[in-house]
Point group: C4
Chain length 469, copies 4
């Protein structure tokens, strides 16, 4: 796991290089960065290839195709060797030579040091990087080559560009197919080598089976194999002698493990896949039960439900959790990037220093409100200041019983500031008219930041009064 | 997932549209309730139908019935075409014409814009809303129509009016039945087309199978199919030639996936369904172990257990969690709706302004206590003020050792206020006599709210003393 | 679920009654309690029976036995009716009469009102309590009686005296057995009624099956049934005609659901059962990896691991979580019961009023420490005061470099008080010598409580100095 | 579970015993390390053996081998008794004598008292420690000996040196093999004892089966057994008479339970094994969706992703959680051990007392930052002080627009102190250049600790100014 995380780090390190090579001036110059030493534009020594070179990646993919072919042909040759044309062995040798080339290539591919995360291109150290070399030598053994496929799948599972469910299913399907193929071939071989062809699993049904063509025999073998693996066990083909029984015992024991593993994985995927819907149902159900039990008026129930719907919709994006997991500096720079332009233009903060607005921005929290939801209730205690990022709200205030003022606020406007700054209960009800994104700033935080200099407090209050006069 | 959440939002978005188009003026006018305005009232252009029109919904349901029929008849015709009466093809053409009508209808059904959540009824934009149209054209292909059924189930799973367990089971059952039906028909077709009828899976058992009636042949096909799917595999019917073996291999591989998926789903449903009982057991067990290990007196153990029982009973309703997930304004308006009438009548708050009581109400927390549980213990530090919403409590105070005063408090009465306001340890033990709902207000919060004006503090204290004198 | 929680409440309500009838004087008199109206000692009207009467409970258990017999005999009679002796029908009638008695009895059994939790013994209301009556009338139908068994299992699953794993397994096993029995009998009946006995599943193997004795035929039917249910499907017995195929199709579809359900339940039980061990492993592994990665000295690693072991051991008891879930008053009374006697005798609190010690006790937290673990490190900031409940600790202080004083403290003694009261870093290292239970009191909490009266602060300080002089 | 935790505690308790009996005098003397004192050094009474004695452990392992042999031979003898050579019964008697020796040995092995966690070596108390003795006596029964194996697996599952997945799989595999072996032998025995050998499951296929050699018969029996257990059920071997059917029914019912249990366990292991990868995927996906939705610049996305990668990499080590679960004293001593040497050398704290640095160290939190991540942003509010433990950072400050000062800080240096101490927004941006470990100290905590004495505050400020002048 750790190892593949490192892979992932390298991957991003790689991106970072490309960005910097595009060049933004200051920050980067002073940062002799990790990324700067990775990838193809990096000058590696002559004759040394980067493992991130697209041509090398292509070579790796080509090898995987060869591995798949090897994995399929190997048990097949084992069982049907005497019936196969000689061309097939020629192909084998060609493939073997490709793997030999790969072993030689190992001495010319730079590798990433596990401690420093730097590419190493000294031929001596590459040669000494024995682990990778040792593994490759094992590729001389045909089936060992399968570990290439295994590591491919391990990488794909971590890769978010591929759907987890389907990657995992493909892997399990491949493993199953391979098991079926191997055991089918092996079982045929037992029958083929048995002294009395009549007393074999295939000979009992097709007496002269050796005279049939390869396709019929192979399909029959696979049919027996899959019938046993899925525990269907029609019984039309079954062990006839002790050898076949012993093989059958082993295969069935293996199948018990494999099918349990398949079911376990499928359960895992199903549980993972349906958890979102189940949570959604549970929450909606709890809310509507609450509403009906307490006989809440329809408009309140509607506000509750639409808020929950919106929360689940945006929970798929997991905005808040993602941000909370990051260190303060990254959060601040994201907040600055996203919200500084809007907060800067708010009338209340005109005349503030860059520093102060920066600090305000980093403390703000973004929230979505569905249409027609109350953000502030009249007479509420003032706890937050709100700035509209997108969407719109309407306010409705009645300072005097028969004087009604309506207002419509849109992106870039602030509300709730009167209550917060004058420390009085909110004079308006504020309600969204469409899907609205709002920045929320805690009152205490605001005061803590402004309190730092007496001057800023004055600016805020004068801004406030200027608008009202 | 997101997509179906959007669906849900559209539902509410739709309402909001209707409300706004009605134009609003005042707090209450502006909120005609959900039920009253849904669907029929919106004036769409002439000849344009709302997707929420009950007649259109009925049409959709009718189409689903046709889809189910198509799904069943399609593989059946495929296998038994030459034995079927011609009427059945007439029916097919009638059904096809219904789907053609649905495609034409698409140009006259308003749709909900994904960004604004508003119903669009301009013919041009509807015609340009190509995604939905494109999908419908594919309905010309018979099996593609099944996606109607799929989206129906996706909607039902989100709909809390239907039990999740049974919706999910029905879906899985339908998928299984469909797989069984298709493969049965296909396997029959292989036998039917095979040159030597004796060497087929059905011909080996029923030599003159083509002369039997359709019902016998269909049941035999389905019997083979289900025997294979469930991996029972009696073996009375089994593949006799290579074609059938190849089909059998594919079908068994598919079955392996399907049964894993069924088991995975069932496990998921079982885990979800039993989690409540398991939590309940674990908690009760922990509590009674704690009691017996510490040799607590029986009445304490009883209080603990009955409190836990009650908590689990009300946790099904998940009151507190539901409220906590909502934004402050909604919570406040719910609290106001539910508790304002009771808090307003409490003697301690007589003379308070509306504002102040409103703020107190929004800070209160509702809790249930089972019968005979202590709410306050004599000599406890005063932390909360309690108001009874329903049920009753008895108090027992002994200011002097041999002077016992008992009291009974019911809905609308307050207790614990002497300790809180006079800052002394509680002089009473308060115990519930029946299932009691109580509002709890934190002492610090109370003081923070009252402190805002000196006048209110005076009112509270004078209210307090008036009662005691 | 809710309903069974209520059951549980009644159950405890019941206990509480018995305690009170044993009589503790004051508190109880003034509490006309819920419990006081439940159970046999309660005077119900004449001829009205309490549902908690042990004789009625015995009657219910007797009925369950009859239900089990009915469930078994009913499908058996259905299949083998013509071969059974007439005595068996006599037994049936006797059993039916018992259920008739139960229906009559319904009018004389008090029931618990769902709203007030009180036993209702008015004949009119009992007769009107139609739900329970309506259900019982259905018992005339034999198989409906199984719902008695179902509700028995639902109750057992909630009952912590029975192991959840085994209760659940027994239930699933019973359901499986019943399904096997029913389908076996039904399948036999199909063969028995078929016009051509040679062309049935049993007749094909045992040509003259009707002449064999009942036992052979019943075992053969059950054997076929279980072979199909477990999907073993030897194929020695299999459907021979269309009727049997149709029944087989239905049974196999049902089995698919049942086996999925069995596996789902087993998975659920396994996951639940192994979670404790897995957590334990993960935590221990994380701790020892941490220690070895940071090259911590052996004695630190040992302290970490033994603390984690102890925590997991006591987590089984879930002490802290249990307490946290309870309301303040219950927690206070438990704390008073458990710790007041010990805290009262601590020298530091001599001369304190009952009130004050009571408040201190309710704020204390109990913790277990394994042997040889440091509780306080020399020079640490003083954050807590500790009182030993059981076990022993040794202290080691070196006020001057070459003056070493050792001490041993046992149950009832206090430590850490010098640091806390004199606001200096802890002068001792304190280490446990055996498994020790310690009460911990936060410094801030202590000061908040003592600060209430100047007098108490003086007492504490004088107690402290008295010891040191 | 609790019981095995106790085992684990006893392990440590045991150590603690040894330590105390050695008697201790001073801080370091008193803690000879875990490894050095284990087992052999304790002086137990003469003729009494410690249960931790490696020779006794070897004896226990030897017994387990005997148990496994017994478990295999016992059903085998049962079925094939009449065909076995007499030597095998001689071996049985030898093995029985070993178990007899073990029972005698029980009186000479010390045991760990469950309450005091001390080894008890008094012969009287050992003899009275009946539970262990009683269990051992049951070993006279052959199959009872299997509980030795069961307790071995229970211990292995808790032992983190063994992989949980493989331990659990081995256990389940052994149980399965044993079930297959037993039922195979038992089924053979039924056939062997049946009056008419032709009408048995084996006789129907191998008419003269009693004349074949043991191997053929044993393999056939096992083949039938595994065919049934895995529900493959070819049907070539199947029950021929009622006895065999009854046994088959029981075995298949048992298999249903066993396979469910196997699948349940496998699912549990798969879910446990893949949770890390799934969490990683979900988090990375959420972060990159967030970045692309908000169109964050590439370098921000890169910082987010590489931080998350690093967090998951180190989460495998679960550093923070491990520490949080420990009591304060252990955490403090670990912090002191790990960080005191570095904090002591920081220029800012030169002249501080040991006490004060100790308190600072215990409040610090260690964190890892990936390369090229911002730790502090220019103009940020000062919240933390940072000390570099390993790795390096670069700072970039521009007090005047065209004056740029760069600096590089490495292990042991402090940054962020100017902002914190002068209460101004951070004048630098600080960015890591490689994988960096940093100690973080909260500003408020720092001030609380320094505030204790006026002198220390002066030292800090003078240290700060000395550097800048």
């Amino acid at each position: 796991m750790l190892c593949s995380c490192m892979n992932c780090l390298q991957h991003f390190g790689n991106d970072s290089f490309q960005l910097e090579s595009g060049g933004y001036s200051m920050h980067n110059d002073l940062l002799p960065s990790l990324g700067a030493t990775i990838n193809h534009t990096i000058k590696l020594r002559k004759h040394i290839v980067s493992p991130y070179d697209p041509r090398y990646r292509l070579w790796e993919k080509f090898l995987i195709v060869l591995v798949l072919y090897s994995a399929w042909i190997c048990p097949f040759e084992f069982a049907f060797r005497r019936y196969l044309p000689s061309t097939i062995f020629l192909v084998d040798n060609i493939i073997n030579s490709f793997f030999a080339i790969d072993i030689v290539l190992t001495f010319f591919v730079a590798f990433v040091d596990h401690k420093s995360y730097l590419l190493v291109d000294e031929p001596k150290r590459i040669a000494g990087h024995s682990k990778s070399l040792g593994f490759k030598l094992l590729s001389v053994l045909r089936l060992w080559r399968l570990h290439h496929v295994n590591s491919l799948f391990a990488r794909l599972e971590k890769d978010i560009r591929f759907n987890y469910f389907w990657t995992r299913c493909t892997k399990l399907f491949s493993v199953t197919l391979f098991a079926v193929h191997c055991s089918g071939c092996f079982n045929y071989m037992i029958a083929d080598r048995y002294p009395d062809p009549e007393r074999t699993w295939i000979g009992a049904v097709i007496p002269n089976f050796m005279e049939h063509n390869l396709w019929v025999r192979y399909v029959t073998a696979i049919y027996w194999s899959i019938t046993t693996l899925t525990t269907t066990g029609y019984g039309d083909l079954h062990a006839e002698n002790t050898r076949e029984m012993v093989f059958g015992i082993c295969y069935m024991l293996f199948n018990l493990g494999l099918t349990s593993y398949l079911i376990g994985n499928m359960t895992n995927l199903v549980v993972h896949g349906t958890s979102h819907t189940k949570n959604f149902r549970d929450t909606i159900q709890a809310a509507s039960e609450f509403a009906s039990r307490n006989k809440l008026p329809k408009h309140m129930e509607e506000q509750m439900l639409s808020h929950i719907c919106l929360r689940f919709k945006t929970e798929g994006l997991k905005q808040q959790e993602t941000l909370d997991g990051l260190p303060k500096a990254i959060r601040s720079s994201i907040a600055e990037y996203l919200f500084f332009p809007i907060v800067q233009k708010v009338y209340l903060f005109q005349g503030f220093s860059f520093n102060l607005i920066f600090q305000l921005v980093t403390e703000m929290q973004a929230e979505y409100y569905p249409p027609k939801e109350d953000v502030i209730l009249q007479n509420e205690a003032p706890a937050y200041l709100y700035i509209i990022v997108s969407g719109a709200v309407v306010s409705n205030f009645s300072l005097l019983p028969n004087l009604q003022v309506h207002g419509r606020l849109t992106a870039g406007e602030i509300f709730g500031e009167i209550g917060v700054l004058c420390n009085m209960s909110q004079p308006f009800t504020i309600r969204t008219t469409e899907l609205t994104q709002i920045l929320r700033l805690n009152r205490t935080t605001l005061f803590n930041i402004i309190r730092q200099s007496r001057q800023d407090a004055t600016i805020v209050m004068s801004n406030l009064f200027q608008v009202f006069n």
